[in-house]
Symmetry: C2
Subunit: 247 residues, 2 copies
């Protein structure tokens, strides 16, 4: 049987601001990584190393943030951070804020998260440029241990219409994040209509299955998946505004 | 490293209406299946066996279907089938029809699909009750080859805001389709806020990576994932209407 393996990397140390995250990851995977693996990295450790933490005690909430937080029993400082990380509000109701981030991702709370962060008053933001973070990591791994891989940086997003979150790709380097089968014949010889597969999202989802949420496993190696080599960017996974029916 | 394997089952025969699909699957996986595997089955083979095929030459399009199809250069008979498979239209614009199926799934074209189906004038519907199909398959496998597994029936759905489709679970048997971490402490001891993971969807996505779209691999075995045993139902993956901000 043809297959893939998804391997969780255990024992990764706690990450602090200004840690050399690429060296830490390289050290953790050096003996295990093989050419053409996909290394999936949860964004939290990248964000922490890049100092994307906000001490809420330093945040002065806007009038909008204060009003919305008061209405739904939320922390106005956290709402303020969400608004600052956003370039457009998609929905704002029932205590929930769904926005388009400065990167173009549409998700709850602009990816601002208080879990897996030390301290009561600290929240974690998404990396400023997750594609660039992925590319730097990929370059570092090509240097040491000297292995060419693809890198996916992941986060857990909710979905419209479906309950529960799944991990998706917010940064990509070294692979085509989609597999485009449009026009190729199906096994019956008919051209396929709408088959662009978001494989980087599926790789992130597969990696989540070995990471869990409470196990402190921020890295997974996917082995055996025949991705298309390409520079790659998670922006290829964004719905173009003119095709977005749920703005 | 702790990990999972995702194994594609090759060489599965073409399925026709009234084939004994459970026996066919049992035969294909009998020597490979182990206790606590998750068997992911693409819905297409289940639908075909259950006779969920429509010959478009027998379909009389409604006025709505004719008008919409004419405006966007679509087949009015196929639009009519989509409307019949729906209990609510979510969006209908630009030639696209996004509906809520009779099962409660929100997806493009109510899951009606012309690819991987023999014949120019045939389309394939979703199974009538994918949970029941999954449960029957699970029971059949517990009988012969006598292995207790979980079963996920999958389909490829588009997503709001993101380009590309990913596989999700439309039928579940033998496992809890979500992993609910709410209230559990994160590695820093703080309770997690919004962590209900849609693990059945992640399993379907992982399986898609070995199935591909053109390879004719309709089955995958996921090994090593520690699911919670439960009767399970894909309806647990539906957003309750009162929490759905994108109806």
């Amino acid at each position: 049987m043809r297959g893939i393996e998804v391997l969780g990397v255990e024992g990764f140390p706690e990450v602090r601001t200004d840690d050399d995250i690429n060296r830490m990851i390289s050290g953790a995977v050096a003996t295990d990584l093989r050419p053409r693996d996909v290394l999936v990295v949860t964004h939290k450790i990248v964000s922490k190393a890049e100092g994307r933490l906000v001490d809420l005690r330093t945040v002065e909430p806007s009038t909008l943030a204060k009003g919305y937080a008061a209405r739904y029993g939320k922390d106005p400082r956290q709402i303020e951070v969400v608004l600052r990380e956003s370039r457009r509000i998609v929905r704002m109701d029932r205590g929930i804020v769904i926005t388009e981030t400065h990167h173009g991702f549409v998700c709850a709370n602009a990816g601002v998260d208080a879990s897996n962060v030390p301290g009561d008053d600290t929240v974690c933001l998404l990396p400023v440029d997750p594609d660039a973070s992925a590319a730097r990591l990929r370059d570092a791994l090509a240097e040491d241990p000297g292995v060419e891989v693809a890198v996916v940086i992941s986060d857990s997003f909710g979905r419209a219409w479906r309950h529960g979150i799944t991990d998706v790709a917010i940064g990509v380097a070294g692979m085509d994040p989609v597999a485009d089968y449009r026009g190729q014949p199906d096994p019956h010889g008919y051209p396929m209509e709408a088959s662009v597969l978001a494989v980087a999202d599926e790789l992130a989802a597969a990696a989540e299955l070995v990471m869990g949420k409470t196990d402190g496993i921020p890295l997974a190696i996917v082995r055996g998946y025949a991705y298309s080599s390409a520079p790659g960017s998670a922006t290829e996974l964004l719905m173009p505004p003119d095709r977005d029916m749920f703005r």
